[in-house]
């Protein structure tokens, strides 16, 4: 979900807290891509990154979700599975050339840098590649100093 909608991404919040059972239940209550997304996050939380990614991709239909949102979700799946390098890689299409960057995407880049400090420089470079000038500077600073939560 894009933070631009102004609504909280509760599925991601559940995923960040590692609540696999709750994510499974949420998937039962959701439809379409949203259900696939919740189940993919549950699989990723259980460490089944590849299965999760396949499940996520299976929920994408036609032009939904938009490519940048799908890229961000791929990155989230990798992140939850603990594969931070590939998470950062997956995030690139969501950032590169974006006029305005979804704050949730920038936050994920900072989280990746916090979890794996060896990726910090790459994360900073990544967020410098998209968004308004002010966003680029602010997001780069956030990625440079982020600490694991």
């Amino acid at each position: 979900m894009s933070a631009r909608s102004g609504l909280r991404d509760e599925t991601w919040r559940l995923a960040r807290s590692g609540a696999a059972a709750e994510l499974e239940r949420a998937a039962d209550l959701l439809d379409g891509y949203d259900a696939h997304r919740a189940r993919a996050f549950a699989l990723a939380v259980e460490g089944r990154g590849d299965d999760a990614l396949a499940h996520l991709e299976g929920g994408a239909e036609g032009d939904w979700p938009f490519p940048d949102a799908l890229a961000a979700d791929r990155a989230r799946v990798r992140f939850l599975a603990g594969d931070y390098a590939r998470s950062l890689e997956a995030l690139q299409p969501a950032v590169r050339g974006a006029d305005r960057l979804d704050p949730a995407v920038a936050e994920l880049a900072a989280d990746i840098a916090a979890r794996d400090p060896t990726l910090r420089l790459r994360a900073v470079k990544l967020v410098l590649g998209g968004g308004t000038t002010w966003q680029r500077l602010r997001n780069a600073a956030a990625a440079a100093v982020s600490r694991d939560r």
Binding site: G6, E10, A26, L29
Partner: protein, 173 residues
């Protein structure tokens, strides 16, 4: 009582009772109005709203205040183990609603996400009072049938302020 849905017309005290139940049972409290009314009184589509509420309803424990049946369908009650219905007399909720509306207008109280009560909204059709009035009678048919269709959920119907106080008193410390 782990997942409680609180129902009632505006002014019946849903938020107050919902928060009291949450506090006494140590449950997270969710106010659907606060999620539904975005900045500038913007509203999510049904799909967007389900996307937000489903992960909340999927959790083990909560008090969810509100229904939004048109957008959420049975999503909340499908998970609820208890429905607390504040079916108070009109003479109780109508003055409360009037007083609350005036207070919010005069004091410019922030409701949700920077939104404030607007004078004109008291008169647009259907206005809040007319809507609450219609809902009061409609709920008398709807709520028992709706909860009856979900036998896993226990209906607690509270018809007076005394019953509300007594119910809250049974919840523990």
């Amino acid at each position: 009582m782990e997942r409680v849905s609180v129902q009632g017309v505006p002014g019946s005290g849903k938020s107050t009772v919902g928060r009291a139940i949450a506090a006494q049972l140590g449950l997270p409290y969710v106010e659907l109005d606060a999620l539904h009314h975005g900045p500038g009184w913007s509203e999510p589509t049904a799909v967007e709203f389900v996307r937000v509420v489903a992960p909340l309803a999927a959790q083990e424990r909560w008090v969810i205040d509100g229904r939004y049946h048109g957008k959420l369908g049975d999503l909340v009650i499908a998970r609820a183990d208890t429905v607390v219905w504040l079916d108070l007399p009109i003479r109780v909720w109508l003055p409360r609603l009037a007083w609350r509306s005036v207070r919010r207008l005069v004091l410019r109280e922030e409701l949700w996400n920077g939104n404030r009560e607007q004078f004109r909204m008291l008169f647009v059709r259907p206005n809040l009072f007319r809507w609450a009035w219609d809902k009061h009678f409609a709920d008398r048919t709807f709520v028992p049938q709706w909860v009856g269709a979900h036998p896993h959920a226990r209906l607690i119907r509270l018809r007076s302020r005394r019953e509300v106080q007594r119910f809250l008193g049974t919840l523990g410390p």
